[in-house]
Structures are given as C-alpha cells and as structure tokens.
C-alpha cells in the first residue's frame, strides 16, 4: 500500500469510495506495482477480496505482499482472500490428472468461443459470501474483485468482446449490486498508432473498459526515454462526477518504485532533478 497514492486518490483503508470500477492499464511499461498496491490496500481495509491471478504464481504475489506488510497466506486462512491461481488451474485443465478436482472457472480454455460465463460464476460465488462469515467469527467489509490481468485472456484465445462482457457483469454484480469495488489491469503492447485500426485487440479492449470504469490509472514510460530516478508517469483520470461536484478530471504524476513502496510526484519535481 502506497500512502502517497492514497492521498492522490483521496482514500484510506478506513474510508474509500464504494462501488468504484478502477481500471489500471499500461503501455510499454509495467503497472503491476499498482495491482500489489490495491491488493494490500483492500486487505488492510478488511474487505472480502477475490483475486484472479492469471499472470504469476501465488508465491510471487505472497512475497511482494509480505514486503508491503500484508500476509496473503493468513488472509487466505481467515477466509478474507479467495485466490484464484490461473497458472495452476489452467494446467489442471490442459493436463487432467486423476484425483484433481478441476474447477469450471477456466472452461473457456477448452473452447474460447463459450465466453467467460463460468469465470464470472466463480467470481460471484466467491464474493457473495461477503458480510457474513460462515466459518469464523470475523466479518468482512464490501467485496472486492482484482484481476491481473485481462490481456492474458486475449492471449488464451478469448475474444475482446467476451472480456468486455465479463467485466460488465463483474461491474454489475460487484459494484452496483454489492456496493464493492473492482480493479482490473489491462496491458497494451506496441505504439498507439499501430493499434488504431485494430478492431479486436488490446487497445480496443482498453477503450471499451475506459467507457465502463469510474477511475482510470494509465501507466506509461517517460516520453523522453529511460531515466534511473523516474520510472515513468501515471495518468489518473476520474470519469465520474465526484462528491465535490467536480467533473472528469485528469492529473499526471511521475513515479518511482522503491523496494517497499513507490513515490509519486508532480512532473519535473523528482528529487534527482531539484
């Protein structure tokens, strides 16, 4: 959890806007540090978290979260975190082994044309238990869905339209019905101009998700090239009217990722420059 980002987004684990769809995206850069931020943020906020980790193994996320001061193993044991490990689940479908109870969630691997309905059903079943705790004394807050990342689904052969349907259903269920939050990451490779005519690619998916989201964080490399002290820039765009009546608003920050956190600063105010 990065406190500087919290103050930019005007949220703390104790008070944050509910019902938000936060879109993370990157282009020729890496926005996964934001996924780790939101994972630790919502675990600290005592939300019921469902994490679809399609890119890395559980131990990877666990190791990073440990550095940010949150234990994923404990959260899992307490029933706060439902971790979906895409790498393992897909393996059990591709190489079926006896005695392995395979879940339906990754059904789309057998036939990408069926869409992501089964994955959505998995999400609903894991977040709908929020609020009441059947096997423990602890009670969790609003449900949160995190996805890292949607572009993997495209690589697995799912159509971009099906991904948009999935995100729409997740938004309708988690944000609107249960008043929870959704955080999704999507990656765009290549140049902006290259993707313009692309009808079903990641850029098209990003545009579709931007229409759906209420807050977008877009990570880019520096336009001037590599720099040791500034790792890139984040464009923060609020797409809904906020409580103070402000309209669509965009702010640009530069950032540097440290070992145990990240610092955000206005353009040109890096400590290496000043």
């Amino acid at each position: 959890m990065f406190t500087e980002l919290n103050s930019i987004l005007n949220s703390t684990p104790d008070s944050f806007t509910q019902g938000e769809f936060i879109l993370l995206s990157d282009r020729q850069s890496d926005a996964s540090f934001l996924i780790h931020h939101f994972l630790s943020f919502y675990l600290r906020a005592r939300c019921k978290v469902c994490f679809l980790g399609l890119v890395q193994s559980f131990s990877h996320y666990s190791a990073v979260s440990q550095r940010l001061g949150v234990s994923l193993t404990q959260a899992k044991e307490k029933g706060q975190l439902v971790f979906f490990e895409g790498l393992k689940e897909s393996l059990s479908i591709l190489i079926p082994q006896e005695g392995n109870t395979e879940s339906q969630a990754m059904d789309f691997l057998r036939d990408p044309a069926v869409g992501l309905r089964s994955l959505y059903e998995f999400v609903v079943s894991s977040v709908s238990g929020a609020g009441r705790a059947p096997e423990g004394p602890e009670e969790w807050g609003p449900p949160v869905l995190l996805v890292d990342d949607l572009s993997v689904l495209l690589s697995l052969g799912v159509a971009a339209g099906a991904v948009l349907d999935f995100s729409h259903y997740c938004r309708a269920a988690v944000c609107s019905q249960l008043q929870g939050n959704v955080v999704m990451l999507v990656r765009c490779g290549g140049d902006e101009e290259e993707d313009e005519g692309d009808d079903e690619g990641s850029a098209w998916l990003l545009r579709g998700l931007t229409h759906q989201c209420s807050l977008a964080l877009h990570v880019q490399g520096l336009p001037t090239g590599y720099c040791r002290d500034i790792h890139g820039q984040v464009e923060v765009c609020w797409r809904r009217r906020r409580a103070d009546g402000q309209h669509t608003q965009t702010k640009l920050f530069q950032y540097k990722v440290h070992d145990k956190g990240a610092s955000f600063f206005a353009r040109g105010t890096s400590s290496a420059v000043l």
Binding site: R117, Y120, E121, G161, L164, D165, H168, Y169, A172, A173, S176, Q177, D199, W204, R207, G208, T210, H211, Q212, R239, R241, G245, Q246, H247, T248, Q249
Partner: protein, 303 residues
C-alpha cells in the same frame, strides 16, 4: 432549464419534433452520458413519458440528479444487470432489441401518450446484434407510432467507421461531444437534418451542472484562441513607451509649420532662376596654352 435559448444544442435538448432520432456520439476522452441525462431531465420537465433502455449504467446512477416530480413518468428498463441472460432473471436481454419487443415494452406503461425512448447505449447493442438489424429496428422505431422520439448514446471509438456512419445516417440530429479547453467545459459538434432536407451544422461549448442543467457558452468561433489567453488580448503595445507617440495641438502646429529641405517653395525657385547680379563673377582671359590648333595636335612639342 437552459440558460441560453437560441442555440442549436438547447433546441435539440428542449424538444425535438416527433419522429426525431438523436445520436450523442462520444469517445473515451469525454463521456456523453451526462448530456444524455440532461436530455432525459428536460424531457421529464416537459411532462413527457420517457422510457430508458439501460445497458451501461445502473438505475441509481441514471436517476442520480433527476428531479423527483418527473420520476413517475420515467420508466427504467434494466438491461444492465443481466444483458445476456447469464443469470436467468433478467428484465431485458440484448437479443430482445427488435421493433416488436420495444413497442410491446413501451405500451406496457399506463401512459397513453407516445413516449420518448432513450438508449444507453447503442454500442452495447451493436456489439451483440448485427449493425443491419440494429439499423432496421431504429428505422422502424422512427416510422412506427409507439415511440415519439429516440435518443441514443454511441461510443464512436468502439466501432468501425462504416457502422458509426450508417447509424448516424439514420439520425435526424447528431451531437458529437469532445473535451473542451477548460475544466468542465466540453465541445459539441451538432449536425441537424430538417425535414426539408436542409442540413445545419454548428459548434458550441457547453458545461453541465450537478442538477443536469446545460449551460451554453459563447460559440467557439467567437472565443476560440482568444479565450485561451485573455492577457494577450488586453495588453496595449503603446502603453509603457519611453518616448512620446502622440502630439499635442501646439506641437502639431509647430510640426506643420516646418518646411522640410526637399520641399520646393516659391522663394527657392526664384532664388535659383535669378541669381543676384555682381556678387560672384568669373573672369577669364585665354592665354597661349589655350590656343589649341585642331590641325596640328603636336604643335606644343619641341621637336
């Protein structure tokens, strides 16, 4: 509820003629949903019956900011929570988007008057229903009597240009919105086709307040770059000079009296034509050297 009363945008929002089909085109840089909600708000204020077919926002989001007295005439058709029928308890699925279904839906309401149909958004429908089928349904809605007018949102950057083009060809008015220069301002490009076939185009800058009233600023052609830098407009280049650019009356008189050296006055002319006698005269007496003989040019040589 509009502050300005003669612009095309306010005209469109205030009440289009029956059989009208308004398309609000936006992109992911600026959302046209607020403008669509302003349209709903002003339609309700005119005592119209409004049916909303909502795919992209929930009922709460849509109704937020609408004034209570009109809400009973607003009929919300929830296509948001289950548009594809995944959960088996949907109110409206996308495959029901046909003339018969929509007519049936609109006629279910207790009001007998023809209603205004608002679609949020056509993009959702176009992703699942083929464009020709969508265009056919829209055309039938325009002609059929159940619906008085149709207004729809379209995310233009989600479709091929041809699809956007064919939908906009059906529309009687198209408003394309894009972000403006200043904070909450936006730019609207309006194309309006009147029944006579005349096409009017205009550009306007507008902003939407929290209670969904639309404020229309001056036209961008009058403002344009001038507004971008008001300081430049005000500065007077002759304001802080170290020398005097202007003349007082006495100074001007003195200036006009002065004859410049190249001016040719009468005195000068006479002075040149009749020089004074006896003042300076050249006396010349030829000597031997001046006696030059043309026949013998070498006469002066001692040979």
């Amino acid at each position: 509820m509009l502050t300005s009363h003669c612009t095309m945008l306010s005209e469109l929002l205030q009440g289009n003629d029956s059989g009208g089909f308004l398309v609000i085109q936006d992109s992911c840089r600026y959302s046209g949903r607020d403008l669509l909600r302003s349209f709903i708000s002003s339609a309700l204020d005119r005592e119209e019956v409004v049916h909303v077919l909502c795919f992209e926002s929930s009922e709460e989001e849509l109704k937020d900011g609408l004034r209570a007295p009109g809400l009973q005439r607003l009929h919300f058709h929830n296509a948001y929570s289950d548009p594809l029928g995944w959960m088996d308890h949907s109110a409206f699925t996308v495959d029901k988007f046909s003339f018969e279904e929509l007519t049936h839906l609109v006629k279910q309401s207790p009001h007998s008057r023809p209603a205004t149909l608002v679609i949020d958004s056509l993009t959702w429908i176009l992703r699942h229903v083929s464009p020709p089928a969508v265009c056919k349904t829209l055309q039938q809605l325009k002609k059929g009597g159940a619906v008085r007018a149709v207004a729809a949102l379209l995310h233009a950057d989600m479709h091929q240009r041809g699809t956007v083009g064919s939908v906009c060809h059906l529309a009687t008015s198209v408003i394309t919105v894009s972000p403006g220069i200043k904070g909450d301002e936006a730019l609207a490009k309006i194309t309006k086709r009147s029944k006579s076939g005349k096409v009017l185009q205009d550009e306007e800058i507008f902003s939407i307040k929290e209670d969904l009233t639309v404020t229309i600023q001056n036209k961008p052609s009058h403002l344009g770059h001038k507004q971008a830098d008001p300081e430049e407009q005000q500065t007077d280049p002759t304001a802080n000079l170290t020398f005097n650019l202007r003349l007082s009356d006495t100074e001007r008189e003195a200036k006009e009296k002065l004859a410049l050296p190249f001016m040719f006055s009468k005195e000068k002319k006479t002075a040149l034509l009749h020089p004074n006698q006896g003042s300076g005269r050249i006396l010349y007496e030829p000597d031997a050297n001046d006696d030059f003989d043309q026949e013998d040019p070498d006469d002066d040589l001692d040979v």
